[in-house]
């Protein structure tokens, strides 16, 4: 039997602290499997040669979460009626503590969200990541983009100033010029034949309940497909092009984001003997 040193007091304390932290996690894991699920989601194996461009999707997701959180808080102060909407916006901007900042985050974050979605889309297109078997995820992404733009359209009315009002008049009438059903779509959006109180509450409901709910569902589907199908290598990837070693040597794959293998070894093994 090997000789074991008595653990020092500091060691014992550290072990106790670890136990203290792990106990609730173990409790949760035993009853739900959630900890394992989250580990499975966050610490997936990804190709070794992915790059920063592949973080644009997560960036867009973060922008959406910022919109969701700031929007929930703005809804605590905003009043969607023709007489109160603009004064409540003024109140948020000028009087509520840090209201100017949360409103600013929501207002500018909206553009950030759309821009990041476009950049993400461009990355997916240029990397060919929309090809088999990921076509469905491209379609889901396009739906998210469309719903993001609907968020922009419905949210633009809410400040209820001249810009908001007339931009919405023009936007609704643009929809109305669609052939055949356009006039009906315009009247549905208006909630009647003229823009008024019903239009504002309707846009508010669409903006903060219906469309975000749809986007969240689609983001769930989008992420499910990303996890199921995996992340694509960039088009210049040697492994993806069928370079040798790639299949035999799983060393190329990072074991996880937390513990990367030394890149030098992986790179040396991926190099097919200096053929180029």
């Amino acid at each position: 039997m090997a000789y074991r040193r008595q653990p020092s007091r500091a060691q014992i304390r550290r072990e106790r602290m670890e136990e203290l932290v792990l106990y609730p996690l173990d409790w949760l894991e035993e009853r739900s499997g959630l900890v394992g699920g989250i580990r499975y989601f966050l610490f997936r194996k990804v190709p070794g040669d992915i790059n920063w461009m592949q973080t644009l999707g997560s960036a867009a997701l973060t922008a959406f979460l910022v919109q969701a959180i700031t929007g929930v808080i703005l809804a605590m102060y905003y009043k969607p009626t023709p007489t109160d909407a603009y004064p409540s916006i003024q109140n948020i901007t000028d009087h509520v503590t840090l209201g100017w900042m949360v409103r600013g985050m929501h207002r500018w974050g909206a553009s950030v969200f759309i821009i990041l979605m476009f950049l993400h889309m461009g990355r997916v297109f240029l990397f060919g990541a929309y090809k088999y078997p990921r076509e469905l995820n491209w379609i889901v992404g396009v739906l998210i983009l469309a719903m993001g733009m609907m968020e922009g359209f419905t949210g633009y009315l809410l400040p209820w100033d001249q810009t908001a009002y007339w931009a919405t008049v023009v936007g609704i009438n643009l929809n109305g010029t669609a052939p055949f059903l356009g006039p009906f779509l315009a009247q549905f959006l208006r909630g009647g034949q003229e823009i008024g109180a019903d239009t504002l509450t309707r846009f508010y409901s669409l903006h903060m309940l219906l469309i975000p709910g749809g986007i969240m569902g689609l983001i769930g589907l989008h992420l499910y497909l990303v996890i199921r199908l995996g992340v694509t290598s960039p088009p210049w990837s040697r492994e993806a092009a069928g370079a040798e070693h790639a299949e035999e040597e799983p060393v190329d794959l990072r074991p996880g984001l937390t513990r990367p293998v030394p890149r030098g070894i992986a790179a040396a093994q991926a190099e097919p003997g200096g053929s180029e």
Partner: protein, 334 residues
């Protein structure tokens, strides 16, 4: 990455012999609950009498419950009726096989065998679920969509007595179509009295809604005090109605540059037709606007104008030419 091997389980001997701390089964909570119900009912019917009775019941049963629950603490033995099972007789010199090692209670189903009952239950679950979903969804969808189309009110607008409109003068009239909605229903029209034509008063009343995408068309020309005419402001059934004198050379839209002449004909820019107009009537010497209609173009001007009139269409929709076939149906409008 090596998966962590869990340490081999150490059977905890003590736990097997742990005492069972079961509170004895008791019916007292039932009585306590009844007492509370009586108290609550009494609060509505007779707070003094019935609530007191309820309170007494609750207190008595609560005390009995507490006595039972603390029996162990007070060192009294708990008597729990043991569960009884009949012994299965075993053969001579053998013990009965455990339940999970005996033959199956039911024969295994044949491969591919379907049970009519399970198929019926599947169908019933899906069918009933669909039915319930439909019953719930249909009224909700109707509530979301139909109010936009049904029961659209017709709004008449009282612009005041005819005497405020001198013949040949243009006015920018603003009014509320629906004062109950407030300022959000304020609309603008350009009004000119054309005098009497064939024994009928004639007015040119042009809506300021641009025929391109609905922005507010403005009069191109001076307006207000500079003209030396007075601005009329009066309170009618349509809120504060103001009539601002103006001398327009035409009308122009600030959004995308659509231009119109004084009859509302498009002269430049993106609009697809002339400006909409209001129909009107003179009632008790007052000018009443009735409803709006669309106009493809106007020949001539003033009282002699030939107005090519169509049912009201949204901005940007052609009312004549082949493009009109894109808009065969219009939603119900007043």
């Amino acid at each position: 990455m090596e998966p962590k091997q869990p340490a081999p389980d150490q059977p905890e001997q003590e736990s097997l012999h742990e005492e069972i701390h079961l509170p004895p089964p008791t019916l007292w909570p039932l009585g306590f609950a009844i007492g509370i119900v009586v108290v609550l009912v009494g609060l509505i019917i007779n707070p003094v009498l019935i609530s007191s009775i309820g309170g007494a019941i609750a207190i008595v049963f609560a005390a009995l419950w507490a006595r039972d629950a603390t029996a162990e603490l007070r060192g009294r033995p708990i008597s729990v009726e043991p569960e009884r099972r009949d012994l299965r007789p075993a053969g001579e010199g053998e013990t009965a096989a455990p339940a999970d090692q005996q033959g199956a209670a039911l024969p295994e189903p044949e491969p591919g065998e379907r049970f009519p009952r399970s198929r019926f239950l599947e169908g019933a679950t899906l069918g009933l679920g669909g039915l319930i979903g439909g019953i719930i969804t249909v009224p909700i969808a109707g509530f979301a969509v139909l109010p936009s189309f049904l029961g659209q009110k017709r709004h008449e607008v009282d612009l005041g007595p005819l005497s405020t409109f001198p013949e040949g003068d243009w006015y920018i009239a603003t009014f509320m179509t629906d004062p109950s909605q407030g300022e959000v229903s304020r609309r603008t029209a350009f009004v000119r009295n054309n005098g009497v034509f064939q024994n009928e008063p004639s007015f040119t009343i042009i809506s300021n809604r641009c025929a391109h995408l609905g922005c507010p068309v403005q009069a191109n020309g001076p307006s207000g005090q500079i003209l030396g005419k007075k601005t009329v402001s009066e309170h009618t059934a349509n809120g504060q109605v103001t009539l601002l004198p103006v001398v327009p050379a035409g009308f122009g839209c600030p959004c995308h540059g659509g231009q119109y002449d004084t009859e509302g004909n498009r002269t430049a820019g993106p609009p697809v037709r002339a400006l909409d107009r209001y129909s009107f009537e003179v009632r008790n010497g007052r000018l009443i606007l009735l409803s709006t209609f669309s106009v493809s173009h106007v020949d001539g001007s003033g009282a002699q104008a030939q107005i090519h009139k169509y049912r009201l269409a949204g901005p940007g929709e052609h009312v004549d030419g082949p493009e009109q076939w894109f808009y065969p149906l219009q939603p119900p409008h007043h």
